[in-house]
Point group: C2
Chain length 191, copies 2
């Protein structure tokens, strides 16, 4: 097969795919909210550090700016419609936890709640806030990870396939597909 | 079904999943390299901005630091073994482009090459370098996007499914699975 590798040039854009799509929970005093973020990633392994980028006009921007804390909750693909809804509707209009029957569970190391229905939560404390244009980047330390028991195997190790996580790319939500291989498999000697 | 939502607490870790897994190409004069990065994401929509986090001991860290440029190339899932290899083996040992039969194609807006075999490339210019611990974060403007013609539809629009992109999570490479819905589908009125 001859592959045509001619490339078309476009202007710069945010086409990186797939990216995570997560429910970010946050609070400031009595106010709490949950909203959807795709602009997130790991920025450092040791210490474990992450970020979320949020538009200043978002309700949660104010909550995270004031409290300096948030949780990244990884939703299952069964929650996709709810995840989409949390990205479209503002927490200024109504309490999304209540409206969507989401459980605001106390977190371990931060004062904002976790989303109990999400199998994995990363608790985060902001160490720097950067204005980058349309978005503010909240850089944060990951101070704890909490994991629902049902995604652990018999030895207490996490089996991430059990979490049925979802991905996002170019405006579309996807399930994760087939397992291709594990890190280092290209150089592993066969027995 | 009663769901057990009891959460186990672990220390902070880089468990965010799935994340992108990309081939980053870079160069400094005659030296060029391609290596694998999962610590990447979009940090701002307008202007379009991204980052890659790289350990200082990596060969490419020196090339990106000196040149201030890199390309993020999105591999297809058929390239998974090669992607894994590029994450395990250092460019100090040999020329990975040559060894892996990858085509170093001239880029449009940066002086480092793109990987022609990847259907989508983001060309990036560093605007800030941050030391975060084990990793240096290179924050960058996305100055151009190039797209292989074979992933465009009849109207010249990108059909990202044709790119067969891959994802990474908890040490494992995955294909993308089923399309669940598009952004906004939870509030779309039925015809």
């Amino acid at each position: 097969m001859v592959i045509n590798m001619a490339k078309i040039q476009w202007k710069g854009g945010t086409i990186l795919s797939p990216v995570p799509v997560v429910l970010v929970s946050c609070a400031d005093g009595e106010k709490k909210n949950v909203f959807t973020v795709a602009w997130t990633g790991i920025v450092c392994s040791n210490p474990p550090r992450t970020y979320v980028s949020v538009r200043p006009e978002r309700y949660s921007h104010e909550l995270i700016s004031k409290s300096g804390e948030f949780c990244i909750n990884l939703p299952t693909s069964y929650m996709a419609k709810l995840v989409d809804f949390c990205g479209v509707k503002s927490g200024r209009e109504f309490d999304k936890f209540g409206k969507l029957n989401l459980t605001a569970e106390p977190s371990k190391t931060v004062s904002c709640p976790s989303v109990a229905e999400c199998p994995i939560t990363l608790e985060c404390k902001v160490f720097e806030q950067k204005e980058l244009g349309s978005h503010t980047m909240f850089l944060a330390d990951i101070t704890a990870v909490t994991v629902n028991e049902e995604i652990l195997d018999g030895k207490g190790r996490m089996s991430i396939e059990k979490a049925n996580l979802m991905a996002y790319g170019h405006g579309t939500y996807y399930t994760l597909g087939k397992r291709i291989g594990s890190f280092g498999y290209s150089v592993k000697k066969k027995k």
